[in-house]
Symmetry: C3
Subunit: 396 residues, 3 copies
């Protein structure tokens, strides 16, 4: 966890605003130990065709009264049923709350992900990665085998979301009620190519590439926010008439070279969606006004990593990595869908001491728009900082 | 899920109010996919006499702050211990949060129930069916055998709540704290008769009949509500002096002919309990005033069904059904215990493709009082509509 | 549950205030059946060195809207990993949310504890006993054996928290976010001595003695409270400038003679910590003002018990006990950390009918400061009363 309070003594307040991150709640002032994910999986095959999967998370905040919020309540992450149409499970339907197939890192489990957070640019499409809907996947047996073989070698796939996947879902984010009469649509494609055809030097190397699209309508409840304008902070509420339901469209691409031992991973997405315009100066008399409108967005990341097996003569594995990411566009998971302007360079090492225990140390240099609280004087201000984070992860 | 917004452009507002149902939260405007029940059961016999049963539900809303409510938190449905006094478990005490033995359909699990919702008339006695208390049941071994044999044939019993059952419980509904110093009392009776004595044509046919009584005192916190009176909507708060603790008494009867292949099922209950009188015009000067007072209630349902085994030459089972229900009385689970005036005709088919997977399609024509939000202009107005609902159910 | 309403007709109001307890939420007006703890344990050894432990509790209140609180949500109690450095587990680190090793009764599980509540004096150091942090324990194999042998005899140890334990933790209490940049420190010691060296009459008798220290900084959000002063009740908010982060330090001692058949148990702690001073009369003009300041605290308990095996010729065990406790100091778990002045005498019998089922009946004569609601007219007033409580406990 990083730790730097806002410098509230400066004029205007918040010129050295608090550094926070949409991806890691433990970055901010007054932080100590923090449980980021505590998850149990209940799953089972009911017969050859149907299986159920239920994953609650015990790291969710809930209010215990109108003035107090406590940590560590249990809330669903996943709750879905898989219905296969054939014994090899090449054709499947997934019904319930599950991951939305947009992006590659979004689909990879946090347990498998190398870096501490997902990249903002693609995660902004589906904050928390999940939604309630109906999805169909197709995965030929030979691709299932490629992914299983990669996993056996200790390589980190994104899990099986088909080489082709399509879905419809509510689109208001995980654990949120639907708020309009439009469903989101998503389509996902990916394919792992064996690069052996490039010559024997490349034999066994796997490059996975793919593209995704999504489209839908997002509805939000606008809330008053603290707006820094002309160095004066004012409280403004977005006014759109009655229209806070705005369409969102995105297209993304990804390419992943699995680290044997050197790996590369890159994703990018472009689109447009609901975005807070905090300073629409409508006229000299109307003054500053906020509106939520459709604006463009784009961003992505590039990551390089190197896998070292049997470190120190043990069964342990060490993967040093470096990741650069940038994003300029709305973060719809935050109040009023404010525009985030961020870039970040992270260098770290994941050390898997044995299967059950993983230690990650990462150094980050980040520049981010503070969107953690709409009523804070730091809201919409840029913060930058360097920080070192440590994470212990227990796998079971 | 049905979907119709209130016509707010009409005068007075809400003359074509939103159709909502106390039994199905997914009926209303702006609905998409919806998880109605996500339940896990943890249970076990500790020894020959004592067993524990714990069932959380992961489809409960909770506030995460003073202005935001999220879905899918885990909350207890059942948490009880059974203590038997004899090895065949003829005499049992059940301590904890469990179903209150009033009615027959109330006791039948949602997994077993044919229709999408329970009938309002009997469910209004114990919304969510459960409460915290102490219950005693007596089930002779020969009746345990009758019910087990019915279950083996794929017939849907209500579960074993004794041929006689008595209980005391808090009475403020499931997961609510006790709010007065009076406990509710309940007594339940039911008996499955083999109709073989009517001649060989009736051999194997089973008719279950019984009656129930309950009595207690219900305490509520009155809240401001939107009151349509003389076509003007005003906000009124019930005034009873300090007395919002009102006695409730009910008697119910039921009769069930299990479908072999033709079945009939009927229940009715009569009583009186706390009910909002929204328009007590106390005097010309005092104006409109609301009070919560003891008023009569009554209602029930009749259901016919037909069981078709081995449909399409498979192991599947199909049960077409038709159900008519009516209720006129208070819904104490809603703010201020408003009076509900409803009738509904539902025709549907449950298709159990195999044990793990059930699909239900139902057509309903319903007329209901909107009681979903006390502050809505639709509150207390009648809404009617026809709707088709689909439900996928996974059993494990 | 006890039951006595406040006598609000008296002048000043609340001169016969409601009797409530920080240790038992079921003491108060309008109480019926009550689920105090509903806990499931998920645990497992991942390998010879690492084990995980997860314990949610299903008896937590949460808000479902801004005006309603429901019972029985699932929230974490424990969530930790144990990492041992040696096969006999003499040296261990515990990471996550777990019990803070301060006191002896605090560490004993509620399932094992004889009395219905923990003593306030020591529990006030760590309300709910748990926090999020990093702890290290050392337990020599021979001491592990002593504790295991005691458990085999049906004696109730406090569990293995080392003969020496040290830890750092957030310190804002279980399931609360860290609120400052200081961690709490704690150190724990205990040792079970075999008294055989005192002569053959004492052979097999075990006396466990030890001492603990803790130190940290506690931060709170002050809230308006109802203040009885000069028999006039006023609403006051503590004013400390901006400093509501106050240091706390404590030292505690304990001694336990396990009941074979006669047992004795005693603990005491002294210290200072954040405490509400409700009536700091700053000056004739400023009037009454509240501040939260560092004040002394002290208190403890003495308990005697007698273990009767094979009661009534069965396998059952009966343990009559008597416990006297007193505490004068802050209860930091309540709003504004008010000073509690309490003493209590409890006499009871625990009857373990068989392993799975325990019945406890206890008579208490208690005198306590009411701190259950800061806005109540009873806040900070003394209440006394006698009550009989019954508890059924199911063990699995």
């Amino acid at each position: 966890s990083g730790d730097r309070a806002s410098d509230t003594s400066s004029t205007p307040p918040g010129t050295d605003p608090e550094l926070t991150s949409v991806g890691d709640r433990s970055i901010g002032n007054n932080q100590g130990f923090f449980l980021r994910r505590v998850r149990l999986v209940f799953s089972g095959d009911i017969n050859d065709y149907i299986s159920l999967y239920l994953q609650p998370d015990f790291a969710t905040n809930a209010a215990t009264s109108s003035s107090n919020v406590d940590l560590h309540f249990a809330q669903l992450r996943d709750a879905y049923a898989d219905i296969a149409f054939d014994k090899p499970h090449e054709y499947r339907i997934r019904a319930g709350q599950s991951k939305v197939p947009f992006g590659w890192e979004n689909l990879q489990s946090s347990q498998n992900r190398l870096t501490l957070d997902r990249a903002d640019a693609l995660n902004s499409a589906v904050p928390s990665e999940r939604d309630l809907g109906l999805f169909a996947y197709w995965t030929p047996s030979e691709v299932q085998k490629v992914w299983k073989d990669l996993t056996k070698k200790g390589l980190k796939t994104s899990g099986d979301y088909g080489v082709l996947g399509v879905g419809v879902y509510n689109g208001q984010s995980v654990n949120k009620a639907e708020a309009n009469d439009n469903l989101y649509l998503v389509a996902h494609s990916t394919y792992p190519f064996d690069l052996g055809f490039l010559g024997s030097a490349m034999r066994g190397q796997v490059l996975e590439v793919g593209a995704d699209v999504m489209s839908g309508r997002f509805t939000m409840n606008p809330a008053a926010y603290s707006n820094p304008y002309d160095n004066v902070t004012a409280t403004v509420t977005p006014t759109n008439g009655s229209n806070f339901s705005i369409s969102e469209d995105r297209v993304g691409v990804h390419a992943v070279l699995f680290p044997q031992p050197f790996g590369l991973q890159a994703e990018w997405n472009w689109g447009a969606g609901p975005t807070l315009n905090p300073n629409r100066d409508l006229s000299p008399t109307a003054g500053i006004q906020g509106v939520i409108e459709r604006q463009n967005l784009n961003g992505g990341y590039v990551q390089a990593m190197y896998k070292i097996d049997d470190v120190f003569g043990t069964k342990g594995t060490m993967i040093p990595y470096v990741k650069w990411q940038t994003y300029n566009g709305a973060w719809k998971g935050a109040t009023n869908a404010p525009r985030v302007d961020m870039d970040e360079l992270e260098a770290g090492i994941e050390y898997q001491i044995f299967k059950a225990l993983e230690l990650t140390v990462a150094y980050s240099s980040m520049n981010r728009t503070n969107v953690s609280s709409a009523s804070s004087a730091d809201y919409l201000r840029q913060a930058s900082g360097d920080l070192i984070r440590t994470q212990i992860q227990f796998n079971y």
